[in-house]
């Protein structure tokens, strides 16, 4: 599984990355988590407000910091 955090390095993106790591740990998986900071690359996912969460190249959330529980549900679906 490949996860990307979209955002230009703001505090919210870091928070989202932390929550994602926590969710992955709870789910017992070890995905590759990358940060995408380039605005054009970010917009390439159709994102208009950061931070965004991409699981296996699919944008699943944007515009707010998801809680670890919410990310866990998304991970289970993916």
């Amino acid at each position: 599984m490949n996860i990307k955090i979209l955002g230009s390095g703001c505090k919210k993106c870091l928070a989202l990355a932390d929550n994602t790591k926590a969710a992955a740990e709870t789910a017992g998986i070890d995905p590759q988590i990358d940060k995408v900071t380039d605005v054009v690359a970010i917009a390439g996912y159709g994102l208009m407000s950061t931070p965004g969460l991409v699981i296996d190249e699919k944008l699943v959330a944007s515009g707010r910091v998801l809680k670890a529980v919410e990310i866990g549900k998304l991970l289970a679906k993916a």
């Binding site: 230009s8 703001c10 505090k11 919210k12 605005v39 054009v40 970010i42 917009a43 390439g44 996912y45 159709g46 994102l47 208009m48 407000s49 950061t50 944008l59 699943v60 959330a61 944007s62 515009g63 707010r64």
Partner: protein, 303 residues
């Protein structure tokens, strides 16, 4: 000498307190309202309209979106790939950094309500006319091809956000924006304090004075490459007006600093080709200069 130092310190402390209190209160309340208008929703609303009505609505919704020009690229790509016409997108892009609710209230507290409301009206008119003009030039070929091919996502958090989350969002926005702009604001107030007490009136009058026909032009062109937001620019404009600079000249300076800046132009260059970029800058610059002259010639009605 002691008087001047005291005057500068007074201007500095008074403005720091005033601007930071206003900034925090305003960003908090406006962010709460903004949480009801995520860009996806704005895009959906705009997609249902056509013609000048769509441009006007775009200009109004631009006033409700976040303050930073750094979000203009994702918005540009998101709007364009979803099929919104360039005219509507540019109306939004012009109005968004130029006019926002916080700046209006700040303008009113530093100058007066007549000036603040006139600023909104001319800002919106500039956004509607500028966008319409760009749309009528049929410049779609001047947008980088990948923009049209970008996927359109419709994740919309709107229905899912509780009031508590909106309040948390508003508080985070205050911290985020204050953290991002405090240095610009302090520098702006510092420059304002310096102009206020150290630069002789004659010196400013000879370059930017009311009787100088080129003053608006100089103020606008000087402001274009500058990167600051309206909160940092206002104290400078305040000090300039106190030194006898025309209101139109000061407003032109505020508008050109906020609407156009080197960083935002460099970012836009990645999604549009040079001719469209030049046309965009030219239309906005000329619009600001015209607004400056109109305000200067009508200034006796405003103060």
């Amino acid at each position: 000498m002691a008087n001047r130092v005291a005057g500068s310190v007074h201007f500095f402390i008074y403005d720091v307190i005033k601007i930071f209190i206003l900034l925090s209160v305003l960003i908090f309340s406006i962010s709460y309202v903004q949480s009801y208008f995520p860009p996806e929703r704005t895009r959906r609303i705009l997609g249902q309209r056509k013609g000048v009505g769509a441009n006007t609505l775009a200009a109004f919704l631009g006033t409700l979106t976040p303050f930073c020009s750094c979000s203009s690229i994702p918005l540009f790509i998101g709007f364009t790939s979803a099929g919104l016409p360039l005219s509507v997108t540019f109306s939004f892009l012009i109005s968004s950094p130029l006019v926002d609710l916080a700046s209006v209230i700040l303008l009113a507290s530093i100058f007066n309500w007549t000036i603040a409301l006139s600023y909104v009206v001319v800002g919106l008119i500039l956004a509607v006319l500028g966008g319409t003009l760009i749309g009528s030039l049929r410049l779609e070929s001047q947008v980088e091809a990948f923009v049209f091919q970008s996927p359109v996502s419709d994740h919309d958090n709107d229905g899912k956000i509780s009031r508590e989350e909106r309040l948390i969002y508003a508080r985070e926005q205050v911290l985020d924006i204050v953290h991002r702009v405090w240095l610009f604001v302090l520098i702006g107030i510092g420059i304002g304090a310096a102009i206020h007490n150290w630069i002789p009136e004659s010196c400013i009058a000879s370059t930017l004075g009311q009787d100088r026909w080129r003053s608006v032009f100089v103020a606008t062109v000087a402001g274009v490459p500058m990167y600051a937001d309206i909160f940092g620019t206002l104290p400078i404009a305040e000090a300039l007006v106190q030194k006898g600079v025309g209101v139109g000249t000061a407003l032109a300076f505020i508008m050109s600093v906020t609407a156009l800046s080197l960083p935002s132009v460099i970012m836009l260059k990645r999604v549009v080709k040079l001719p469209l970029l030049v046309i965009f800058i030219a239309i906005v610059t000329v619009g600001i200069i015209v607004i400056g002259y109109v305000f200067n010639s009508a200034s006796q009605l405003l103060i």
